[in-house]
Amino acid sequence: MAGPVGTRPAPGGDLPEHPDRLWRNPEPKASYDVIVVGGGGHGLATAYYLAKNHGITNVAVLERGWLAGGNMARNTTIIRSNYLWDESAGIYEHSLKLWESLEQELDYPILFSQRGVLNLAHSLQDVRDSVRRVHANRLNGVDAEWLTPAQVREVCPIVNISPDVRYPVHGATYQPRAGIAKHDYVAWGYARAADALGVDLIQHCEVQGLQISNGRVTGVHTDLGTIGAGKVALSAAGHTSVVAAGAGIDLPLQSHPLQALVSELLEPVHPTVVMSNAVHVYVSQAHKGELVMGAGIDTWNGYGQRGAFHIIERQMSAALELFPVFARAHVLRTWGGIVDVTPDASPIVGLAPVENLYLNCGWGTGGFKATPGVGWCYAHTVAHGEPHPLNAPFSLERFVTGALVDEHGAAAVAH
């Protein structure tokens, strides 16, 4: 029976039921075995693998905003493992293998699409460095090919390979297993799976200080009060320096805005991912159809999640040089995240100078692709109190010993 007019839905206004919540929103307990600071992809994946791989379920993820409101859902979602050095190949390739079965693992759609990545070479030096990287990748079991300009055109017909431009395409490295995924779904998938294993995901809870006694961390001070912790695992990306400074820990990090943009929805025109460090833009086409573009950081330190417009202008002119067909596309939206950059363009994952405190930071412009891999390795590090072999080279001590993992070439700012 229809009720009085005022309570009946408007014509055409029958909305479907609100979908089920993907996770609980519990009140924080007095203490946890492990507190993960930061509910981005890395924090959520770490909590999931702590529970799944190590049976540690008395875990809370504390997030000052909403889950994945930081870089996790602001990135351009490029996933690849074709870095130069063995250390990097180890962790990024481990991650890529996990991506390949992540949808089944989480029982949640993540739209992982292995459409390949082209890293373009525009100078003789680029060509030499790229060919070297292809060989290094192959030795590490990472799929990699060197393509001529004509082969580049076969993979991505809209790339301009004319020799008649300022920075002609001399070829490209190609990693066929690289691709993109839908970043917010990845976060939700991990959140849902971690929650199901008993992890408390606590949003709008900012860590304002670390409770330390006798050189070991025993809890965190938050705007919801002090919460005790057996171990504290930082995963606060661009804000890591701020959290660590509260414990008197200096880190070799600088926080910068990194911007990205999308066009309106277009017909499928771009079948792969194209990155160019020299002309400096990276472009893919999202599942819905928008062109997704990013480039380098704003040079200055910043926590404001917005950058300067000339950065956007430059990446668009770079995109136009590579893809003349984009000339009529419109920018729909631009935004920024805050990325924490290290001197060698590699992350810091491991032990901290304070006992029971762990560091995962410095992923800069390129940590989305590492989400499953770092979650896996960092959970191991936290559970065992010592680094997983794959993140052991990424210690804080390397800045003293000099054993840097210099990925500026393969990462540049365009990770």
Partner: protein
Amino acid sequence: MMLIPCPWCGPRDESEFHYGGQAGVAYPADPAALSDEEWAKYLFFRDNPKGPFRERWSHSAGCRRWFSLVRDTVTNEVLS
């Protein structure tokens, strides 16, 4: 986009400048005397505050001079 006050040319568009990071980081008087930790601190560690930050800028597309200013890293307001 920031308007950066060059002490010599006045407020100019950000794109004319080159960023130099934290101000007041002096080259060690006797580098050879430093421990590895101290050398690492000098080479790799810089402050990264959320809020006022004293930093170097060079007006590279203008008078080409270096100067320091204090900027709030959240609002980009130039404080002095």
